[in-house]
Symmetry: C2
Subunit: 292 residues, 2 copies
Amino acid sequence: MVGRAAYIAVDWGTTNRRAYAMTAGGAVVDSLQDDRGVLALTQDDYPDAIAALRDRFGVHSVVMAGMVGSTRGWREAPYIDAPATLQDLAAACLEVAPDVRIIPGIALRSGPRPDVMRGEEVQVLGAISTGAAPSTALFCQPGTHNKWIETVDGAITDFTTVMTGELFALIRSHGILAGMLDGPVADSDAFRDGLRRGREARNLAAALFEVRAGVLLARLAPWDAAAYASGIMIGADVGTRSDLGQRPVYLLAGGALATLYGVAITEASGRAVAVPDGSTTAGIHAIWSSRA
Amino acid sequence: MVGRAAYIAVDWGTTNRRAYAMTAGGAVVDSLQDDRGVLALTQDDYPDAIAALRDRFGVHSVVMAGMVGSTRGWREAPYIDAPATLQDLAAACLEVAPDVRIIPGIALRSGPRPDVMRGEEVQVLGAISTGAAPSTALFCQPGTHNKWIETVDGAITDFTTVMTGELFALIRSHGILAGMLDGPVADSDAFRDGLRRGREARNLAAALFEVRAGVLLARLAPWDAAAYASGIMIGADVGTRSDLGQRPVYLLAGGALATLYGVAITEASGRAVAVPDGSTTAGIHAIWSSRA
């Protein structure tokens, strides 16, 4: 019952790469995942990498999303401006080599606040294309950089990148809090206390020092410090949204981070709806189909 | 006209150490500064270090402030609770060895928010003791960790530690913004733009990504990125104070950081008053005098 592969879809990120052999109907018939992200390759490495994918999957056409289209990747696929739909992304793909296309990212270029995304747009619009989320919705995409993304009628209209995961990794590895954050980061009373503190905090840089003071003054158990600090940071992140009471948040993540953001959204009087996997390939497929 | 030294005052910090030969009248007759902060010493090193200071200055009595009294220092001088005056600090000094005393730090232990200081209290109360600041005032003490400190009638009543300097150092050395922040950090249009953005930002972790997006979209010159990022962080820090229009801020810092915070306070409709050097030795002297 497995169809023949028609093209290769690649989600080519900074650190990791996922490639899928796709049928003309949008089914995944084979896949690979490895650590050959753009940081592991030079520009000269890409033609061979594409040849290897073609050999591996036995199909020629390639459509790629993510950091492969950044200045650090193979070649820059210039951002298109929001509002942007799947059709806009399809029309602006960069043919970087014969039958190899890179989907561009999306930019907020002329508004009050600049922002950029590259890869996340395909997952969000893919979730809409499968019906996993409505065409007008608010999405949350946690990761090293969390993104809050708004869509209206199938177009990405606005988004905000929050460096929550990166800053947490920095304070956990370096600086005065580093030695205090070895405990587990999971949903717990300490995490929820941190959420409350983070939501109300005027400034993340002030709230974070309370982790150290709390441990020194025995108000915070050392074992709880990492969960509390994570709560502060995710609470401050979720606190950037004042509209959580008005509509659900479609949550594009799996595993522990999805759990933590789900709790954070619920504790902020919001409602999180988990979007199942498969949105990225669905988004790439919609773009491939509209160009085919 | 130089009097005879009566004791040694030491401001013993994490990275650096400043020692002063003090007269009974509070004048500095000799001093040294080196990099023998507490991170450079083990607990066993202190007796020899004190003996060397006594040899160097030819005087026996020693009074010390700062991280030397922390768990990372020689021995912990337990925090006393706010509100705390110079007299409270003098009464709680720890005699760690014959005629060698460590001034304790101050804690916010039982209020809504925990916080600690160790060393800064002596400088603030020293500024009041010399008349450089009134006994009821708001102080700002920028550094790796900025502190906002409130005094009432010569007692430290409240304070907030903000990890502004440390977080800026972390994002400048590590992570996705690191390569973008090599430009100068000084008062400039970019710095003031950053101040405005930081003051109004709901979340520092969101505002900081705009540095990257701004550079990628050519809205922010790469040369200006560090000053803009510094402005965001100092603006967010100053934005934690909602009372700047009501009273002056006594600024305890010198050099470039004092300039940046002075601009930030002024741009936030406040008024910064620079406190001249000498407050730390004045504070130690007041404590020495009240015990002598």
